[in-house]
Symmetry: C3
């Protein structure tokens, strides 16, 4: 059975319609904020700001660029591991991230940054970081669907994903006053359950037909390591990018650096332990080593202590690798959830761990550890939350985790239903994981090898020749 | 017909002579500036500078490193897409950039930074950024010649390219007082027409003999995406690196970020629209997605508004992709311009668009939008240009574009003529796009496959065995 | 002869034991420093610090991230050049760096940062940079052993390497008051001789059995260029990361940038000169181009002048390339030192050059060049060293180089002896350079090619099938 995967009308139509919509909406709503507007120079003098360096740009730009690399190179190359879906991995990641950040600026702007004077959204560097964060949720969801959906479906997934993200983020951060600097809940838990639910609804019973394309080859595994390492190295920037100026950013970096280092060791340990000859599995190394960063997202700003960070990384590396070994096959066989990249192991479980760790750490915060001012400053106990105690905050943190979960599951169910409509040009089960479907793939050098030599590759390699 | 491609004397000779010349000229002319000299600590106290952070280093170093990555990894890996010219793509890019930045420090120093007291050039971080920028022009030109020239020719191309660049930059920025923070005109327009003219003069009528080497293979396309993404992600740093401290850098980042996002969507749209089954073409994705960054170069500092940036990206993505579809084949067939990387589509047209957008945006600048101080500050209306109005500035901007074009065309004609001399060790038409000519290429694993299996590859693979 | 390379017990055991030890030791010893603690906000007010930017985080974080990229992507990908050891190159680099940075925080903390009030180590961003530096020494040593040791051996090598590093660093920097911002002596000289001595002790007489795996393939050379370029581009950050705020960091960047550019040109020159047809050798381009950065490590902060930096790069590029051409084969044949990556050429010789250059530059420093305050500030002539003259300092610098050398040789002998014990699961001579030994390697697409077609590859490719 083949399906019509021709996207010559639908993809350009969606791209153009949405890009034009973006232009119109940006025209109506989006303006520079006071730090990126030419009036800054007057403001600076009026407010007696001593130096241009106080422009938030200088606090956040280096972190922004690191996050940017994580979104485009990190997520993109992590998804190149499949032997014949590297174009789709890095290419569609590029497409939906570029679309998503625009829509995120609007959605997050409406909820968080709408100026009540003139109903405009005033953007600056922090908005760009938040837009990148928002898109990360959708890219995580893409990980579960990798190779099985059309680019048009991905655009729809992103449009709704960003929308849902902005709402849950508003509820969690603004209404519940929950702290989640690195997004264990808001980004990872939400994004992962959103993607898993979609993948569950789009279940493909005959996916084993493409078994020969579901693995990696030697070089594609090395490509994927580019993604892994850039994610791993820059995760301290991810978790600190929008943390409080000063000690907040500083501490978030230290905690994340340590948690990540620790999860590398436990990942290698469990991976080796799981094979007859103690051989390591690249899937684990590429993914579970990152679990420490995910799990440190919420608590990165808190006084979790350096050894606390090591423990978080220790546990999440183990949980994540065990997930790849036992949960992913179980989920596929029993729960009918096909999770191409194993986002349940890399984002869902570590994200939930991160939310719980955050709740516990917040609940046990005390003036003796944080200092009176430090406690207020770290948890923003002022205005509406001036009377909160640390333990109340812990309760709210836990509530935030539930909101993220609920949005992921409900949102995924809704969007999964929409994506099941037979109008999106997705591939048949036997054509999944194959760049030939949506890309002009160059003939490889060894294509002059007679086709009969590669029995199960023929349809792939020679399609371009026809 | 074969040519003598032995560069065993010429390449080392050029490298040594020029490197020694650099040492001598640096010895005579180049010194640390006051912010990189040990006297800074006295200067700081004398001038009552409150903190080391006011050293320009801290304003510009993060952007510098991003630009540095664009020059060496961005341009370098973007040129690895050919199946058998990846060494030449990334390797010669490395060579000429490393040479060019030294020569650029001298040339730009003589024109812009010569201290009239002691006739020395005082360098600091901004000079390093400008040297990287200057070299970018030559690397763009290399894109048109990729695979068809010898490294010695590339050194000559760079020597003259940097020289010409410094002069046109001096005329445009210092004499005409034109603004061009991201170099749409100074870097992209100049570099592209310089390279295209050279390529036109070096026309190779029998290039179709190497048709089998002119495409990519699966892995080389993934390598090229490394280049694309690092260029794309760091382009906001490119356009903001030497912008004004404070709101100038901040705004340049926002504008570039948006233009780039927008051009990704239109590139995917046009690419899909152009193929029978709506399949995407990696050539477009690797290149045209960057057009928004090029086109936003000049106006990035201006109050072009966020939606204005989206429109610029929208149009330049379309124009660039259409260029790959229609103009490149037309230019090759009719105009006899062989443009390996399609720099006409990625740099020339978007660069010209950028210059025009800059002129229009400048001409329509007003005090009501910029604020009185903001207008003066943004366009540097002081001293010689204190009486300029915005519309006059627009005219000067347009004049700057013409200067860049003229220097590109005339310079390319001159240097093309020089490079046509039969002394540079360039390959014959049938040996182009082949790393075997200038590199020790390792035997591939499948070389034990009898040579007869790869009819058209034999001369490549087995040369090393002889 | 085959050896038992089963590491199913040993590797997980080592990982778990050491990670748990880290958690306990961190719990006992490591705390946030005052700039990463929530009390910062009170401290800031109390000390009248005007802005959060004075938090050292903002001075050093961008450089830290660049160094981090060098450690994980730079060193990691530089070691992917072997045709069938890319997993081991980048993967084991990842493992030992993640372990090493934890141990380094403790070791360096005990020696340099132990708070005498409460016997705690207070960490901040500078400690993270130093930990990365410390690990660099071990990664250099790994370069000599690449492909010939088990991951358990590498963990041991790292445990001892970090320990030795912390001691020699303490002697050189704290006791001798030697300056070595970029670590020519402390990192490169020590690391290289440590690795070379280990490799000498672990000499493998029958290594020629794996000759077919000791080279690169086309794609693996391109992967290695990722490592080369990220090392090259970020080396200015490496040499400036812990330099003095202000002019110190600024000057270190300029000097390193220039030395690196210069060594690229001489590397290309010598590489081309060495081959009959002037063809370039990727091994040289990947490695010797970096020699300028190594050799500029010690003197990067000094007033070595821009042309001085060019000369340092000039010489070290030549020396390093000649090393690859003549010394490496000589060392392997005559001295029985098998140096997989040629670290003697990239780190040992340029490191020694760097130490000598540093000593000479320091000895010839004068108040007329540095300024009175500048001289004191640059060489830290205060407290114990208040009476030092520049020429005395030069002597101490030379002494520092000897200490680094001695620690490398003696430490390598000790650790080499330990690693020779037959309990570490290292491969037999005929199984070196082969990822099959420690990794689950995916079958390549062309594995359906009958095994008989790849005579010497069969044992590699089909091991997984058995």
């Amino acid at each position: 059975m083949t399906k019509n995967t021709n996207i010559r009308i639908s993809l350009p139509a969606v791209c153009f319609v949405w890009q034009i919509a973006m232009i119109i909406l940006f025209g109506v709503f989006i303006r520079y904020n006071e730090e990126s507007d030419t009036h800054w120079i007057e403001l600076k003098r009026r407010k007696n700001i001593s130096t241009h360096l106080e422009n938030d740009f200088y606090y956040r730009y280096p972190s922004f660029q690191d996050v940017h690399v994580m979104i485009f190179v990190g997520f993109g190359f992590l998804m190149t591991f499949l032997k014949r879906y590297s174009f789709g991995g890095v290419g569609f990641n590029f497409l939906i991230a570029a679309f998503g950040i625009q829509w995120a600026l609007l959605m997050q702007g409406w909820f968080h940054h709408l100026d009540s004077d003139d109903w405009k959204i005033k953007i600056g560097i922090e908005n760009l970081i938040n837009a990148d964060f928002c898109v990360a949720g959708c890219l995580i969801a893409y990980g579960a669907c990798l190779g099985k959906v059309s680019p048009v479906q991905l655009m729809v997934l992103t449009l709704f994903g960003v929308t849902l993200f902005a709402v849950e983020e508003y509820i969690i951060l603004e209404l519940l006053h929950v702290k989640d600097a690195g997004g264990s809940m808001v980004i990872h838990t939400f994004g992962a359950y959103y993607g898993l639910t979609i993948s569950w609804i789009l279940y493909r019973p005959l996916l084993s037909q493409t078994k020969h394309l579901q693995g990696s080859v030697y070089h594609s595994d090395v490509f994927a390591m580019i993604g892994t390492l850039f994610l791993w190295m820059f995760w301290p920037s991810f978790n600190s990018a929008i943390a409080d100026h000063g000690d907040g950013q500083h501490r978030a970096v230290i905690n994340t650096y340590l948690a990540l280092a620790s999860s590398v060791l436990t990942t290698f340990a469990i991976s080796s332990l799981s094979q007859k000859h103690g051989k390591l599995d690249m899937v684990h190394i590429q993914n579970a080593t990152l679990a420490g960063g995910v799990a440190m997202g919420t608590a990165s700003e808190f006084m979790i202590t350096p050894y606390g960070s090591l423990i978080v990384g220790f546990c999440s590396g183990i949980v994540s690798t065990l997930g790849y070994l036992f949960l992913t096959p179980f989920m596929e066989k029993t729960l009918k959830i096909q999770d191409t990249c194993g986002i349940h192991n890399l984002h869902a479980m570590p994200g939930v761990i991160g939310g719980i760790v955050g709740a516990i750490t917040a609940a046990s915060a005390s003036e003796s550890v944080y200092g009176k001012e430090g406690l207020i400053n770290t948890f923003d106990f002022k205005d509406a939350t001036a009377n909160r105690t640390a333990s109340t905050q812990g309760g709210y943190q836990a509530a935030g985790l539930c909101v993220a979960l609920a949005f992921g599951l409900a949102g995924g169910a809704l969007v999964g239903g929409i994506l099941k409509l037979p109008i999106w040009g997705d591939p048949a089960d036997g054509n999944c994981f194959d760049d030939e479907v949506y890309w002009e793939v160059p003939e490889d050098e060894d294509d002059d090898i007679p086709a009969s030599r590669h029995p199960d590759m023929n349809h792939v390699r020679n399609m371009a020749d026809v």
